[in-house]
Symmetry: C2
Subunit: 414 residues, 2 copies
């Protein structure tokens, strides 16, 4: 099987001056890698005919994917360059004309001349309709391979990609048989995971790869198997997945497309249980994470953000002497927070966090990054002390995720 | 003044397979643009000698900035390629040897042979010390201009950039005199802003540019003036800034490096006032935004996340019949939320949000995206109805930011 090489080209002055990050190229690279292509180059140039033209001319790869530079405000520089390169003739494209006519009727706006230029498309390309925008994509076949030009607006590009580009790529190219499997871990660093898996990794079959994908407080392990034609990928991966569970299973919280918030939601729903939160240093971020899941109102009752000591005392009924004697960042305080919020909000479980996020407020005894987390149910209270980083935002995110993991573990042991 | 052209080259297999986004190139592009350079190309290639070498060889620009591909795990491919290209000899660099020796002593780890290779550096480059990591940067002068190679870890790269690269660039190149001024707006879309400023923009002096930088719910307006040598930039910009205030002043909430959370913090501190929040559909995100500001404990008392109706009734003392008759998403409910949380948490002001974030829960009367926000002080209550989008995460973010803007406006009119 021949390696299929790709260049990804992003077009836009606003990328070059650092005004926006080009997220399209990464998104496409990830998609193409999953399909079995090899990206050998990513390139960004401005809205400039010469730069675009030489990028297309110099391309040595089987596939060139272009994003951006379409649309009436870009003065159609990209389209004109493609027309020139492929010696196309611009002709009215009826479906695009109909789509844009409807589009302007719906908007209640005039179908102006500038927008009408978008209905003229090269006669020797396959037009890729854009249901969510005005600039369609274009697919050109030529001796060297394929050039695909897509609009730069991410959701327009992604929609065209999924509905048309992927099926067309599968038709045009003979792709390897690739299978991915992702395990999500929490509570262990990338380095520590790699150390535990060093021998295991050495013994992986040569067509299986392992990637560590860290994201604040969690690390995803992605296994990839590439084979020429057989369909036994799942069969090969299954025992490898099982051995990963036996080696680092205590850190794994999910597989595939998931998150700690989603897993918690599933567990709470399966128990028909509810949760309430009491947050100090995380300031509402745990509530924010839990409610990022659609349908979370079925298990998240709410919470109390007890940022000041007075709120801890008045709204969470924590005895004043506990805060005075033990401090707001203490095992006693966090236990009261978790238990009292559970009772006050009439919930099955309570989850609490209190800590020193920084950069102010650290002491020798309780330096910045000292955080207490607690889980409370009718039967038990579980507390844990964390020693995190000197960085405020990192501490807020890490405490939130690690508190959610404490909740998850206790939901499993329920 | 000659235009100074730049290529930014990022090196890393993990970027090409879409595992990570290259944020370094955007960061550097923004910095270089502010200094007066013109970025003509951004490029990403893998950890591959040939690809790196031809990227350097093909560079036609005055300046080539390279990030990534350093460090012992990259097998020093980038360094070797540079050594080869510049016909360097690798010699021990004493300050780097001392730095790394201390580094490993502090870590309590052995200074292994692999790490020792990092102390060998080209004899014909200027070494750029890396205080926060193990791989130093390198600066090469040659006939075509300058090549700078920097480590890929963002905070290491940024630290080297600010302490050494910027001063060296200013020494090496004759840069134009550039001045930027940023105004932050809220509550108006990029398109609507552009419409209000269309005539104003036409009359801008030719050496002044205006950029619209949108970010969920806010749009930054950045004015840039480029001049050859005079120092009157501030003088030219001042009346332009003033005219912007007269045209769209009601939407401007700050200048320079700021955020709505920071501006609110300043206003509350200046009044020695405190704030409490009652959040339904935003689920704690407003608390999270307010507490992202260091020192926010001086004015943020806390809040109640009343996600369920029972919590609205039990913890926020909203009359059950109000929720039954008017609904949880109503002007009456949001008014009670703001006023009651203010009183319960003994705060100067109360801020509340309740709405239908979606994707479930919309009705004909209250479709997804219907959100009520309220501000409460001892003297008054101000409510506002928002009609947002069909997207849950967008609705959460927009409601949060627009609620904070309601607070800000009322703090100013205080």
């Amino acid at each position: 099987l021949k390696e299929l090489k790709v260049t990804i080209l992003a077009i836009g002055d606003e990328i070059l001056i650092g005004q926006i990050t080009d997220t399209n190229s990464q998104w496409i690279a990830n998609e193409l890698t999953k399909l079995g292509f090899t990206i050998s180059k990513m390139l960004t140039v401005g809205d400039d005919k010469e730069a675009i033209n030489s990028s297309i001319k110099d391309n040595q790869n089987d596939l060139l994917i272009i994003t951006g530079g379409l649309g009436p405000t870009s003065d159609d520089i990209t389209k004109d360059t493609l027309v020139n390169f492929f010696s196309s003739k611009l002709v009215i494209h009826k479906p695009t004309l109909n789509h844009l006519t409807n589009h302007f009727v719906l908007l209640g706006k005039e179908f102006d001349d500038l927008s009408k230029t978008q209905t003229y498309l090269p006669d020797n390309c396959k037009v890729l309709p854009n249901d969510f925008g005005t600039a369609p994509g274009m697919w050109f076949n030529y001796a060297r391979g394929v050039v695909v030009s897509l609009p730069g607006v991410p959701f327009e590009m992604q929609s065209i990609w999924e509905t048309i580009v992927v099926p067309e790529l599968k038709k045009k190219f003979t792709l390897p048989n690739i299978c991915h499997k992702t395990l999500h871990t929490i509570g262990i660093s990338e380095v520590d995971l790699a150390e535990r898996l060093v021998d295991w990794e050495k013994n992986l079959p040569s067509n299986v790869g392992l990637a560590y994908l860290p994201r604040l407080g969690t690390v995803r392990l992605r296994l990839t198997i590439v084979s020429r034609d057989d369909n036994s990928n799942q069969v090969v991966l299954q025992p490898l997945i099982e051995s990963l569970y036996s080696l680092v299973g205590q850190f794994i919280f999910g597989e595939g497309t998931t998150s700690i918030e989603l897993e918690i939601g599933k567990l709470l729903l399966s128990q028909a249980a509810t949760i309430a939160t009491a947050e100090s240093c995380t300031g509402g971020n745990i509530g924010h994470l839990l409610t990022s899941v659609s349908g979370s109102s079925r298990y998240f009752n709410g919470g109390i953000i007890s940022y000041s000591n007075e709120v801890k005392i008045a709204s969470l009924s924590i005895p004043r002497e506990v805060i005075m004697n033990e401090g707001a960042v203490s095992e006693q305080t966090v236990s009261f927070m978790a238990t009292n919020v559970r009772k006050l909000l009439n919930s099955t479980y309570g989850l609490a966090v209190t800590g020193v996020a920084g950069p102010e407020g650290g002491t020798e005894e309780k330096p910045i990054g000292t955080v207490w987390i607690a889980f409370s149910s009718e039967e038990r209270i579980v507390t844990k002390k964390l020693q995190l980083t000197p960085h405020r935002e990192k501490n807020i995110q890490l405490s939130s995720v690690l508190a959610l993991d404490l909740l998850r573990k206790n939901l499993i042991n329920h």
